[in-house]
């Protein structure tokens, strides 16, 4: 899967260039709320419950200032990714203990036609291990900047 193939999973209404939240809990709620405002989710409590359970399994802070909270929920109509940028950094109990600045929340339904969820998640982890790309995401202030990074 090429990184450009991730483009359809993002959406302008799921792009938060400056998260208000200062805590992990707050950031998870703000991102879930973003899905609701964009009318991708109807019941935020169900998705938030799943995301909390996922964090119990192990932190989704993968290091280098990145977190990818994720999971399948019956409440999600499709595979979707919300992006949030924290300017001040958030304590996420990440594997390297460092604060998290770039958050990619991936939601997926229990079943999807082409089984894209795990490949999408895997590709996201892969591209975010590239320090050059991470630096670029830090500078993206508009959705268009953000998408151009994926297309470059």
């Amino acid at each position: 899967m090429e990184k450009v193939e991730l483009v359809p999973y993002f959406n302008q209404s799921l792009f938060i260039p400056a998260l208000r939240a200062k805590t992990k809990e707050g950031a998870l709620e703000e991102l879930i709320d973003c899905f609701v405002q964009a009318r991708f989710l109807r019941n935020p409590a169900i998705a938030l419950e799943m995301i909390h359970r996922r964090e119990q399994l192990g932190s989704t802070g993968i290091g280098h200032g990145i977190a990818i909270p994720h999971g399948r929920t019956t409440a999600a109509p499709d595979v979707m990714i919300a992006f949030g940028h924290s300017k001040s950094g958030i304590d996420w109990q990440a594997i390297d203990g460092r604060p998290v600045y770039l958050i990619f929340m991936v939601l997926a339904p229990p079943q999807e036609l082409n089984n894209r969820y795990l490949p999408v998640l895997g590709r996201l982890v892969e591209i975010l291990s590239d320090s050059h790309l991470r630096d670029k995401f830090h500078t993206a202030t508009t959705f268009s900047d953000f998408i151009n990074i994926l297309k470059s």
Binding site: I46, G58, T60, A75, P110, Q111
Partner: protein, 116 residues
């Protein structure tokens, strides 16, 4: 900001989401995500706690449907059950979106969850 889950259908959906998560642990681990040693134990405990909040007949129905179809709860889209793709009658669709009742597809028997 979102509240906590509190209705029977919300508990059932949370249970199904948890069952899927437990099943996919190995795949997620392979992608490089941290999975704590006690992680699975925590999820199994969470499952037991959720089960206590669900009425026994509903729980039995969930387990029976899960064994039969793999997914006991299926989404409803455009008034169609996405388990058997049969159009649902108005008597059901008129009050499905409130998450106050547990509604069943009259054709396949699966539990219904309204996406929108």
């Amino acid at each position: 900001m979102p509240g906590k889950i509190k209705t029977q259908i919300e508990f059932l959906v949370a249970l199904q989401d948890l069952d899927i998560m437990i099943k996919e642990i190995e795949e997620v681990k392979e992608l490089g995500f941290e999975v704590k040693g006690e992680g699975l134990t925590a999820l199994m405990r969470a499952r037991e706690e959720l089960m206590l909040k669900i009425k026994k007949p509903l729980l039995a129905s969930y387990e029976r449907l899960r064994n039969r179809y793999k997914r006991a709860i299926v989404p409803v889209k455009d008034d169609n059950c996405l388990g058997c793709f049969v159009r649902l009658p108005t008597s059901i669709t008129s009050h499905g979106r409130t998450d106050k009742e547990v509604l069943i597809c009259e054709n396949c028997g699966r539990i219904l969850y309204w996406l929108s």
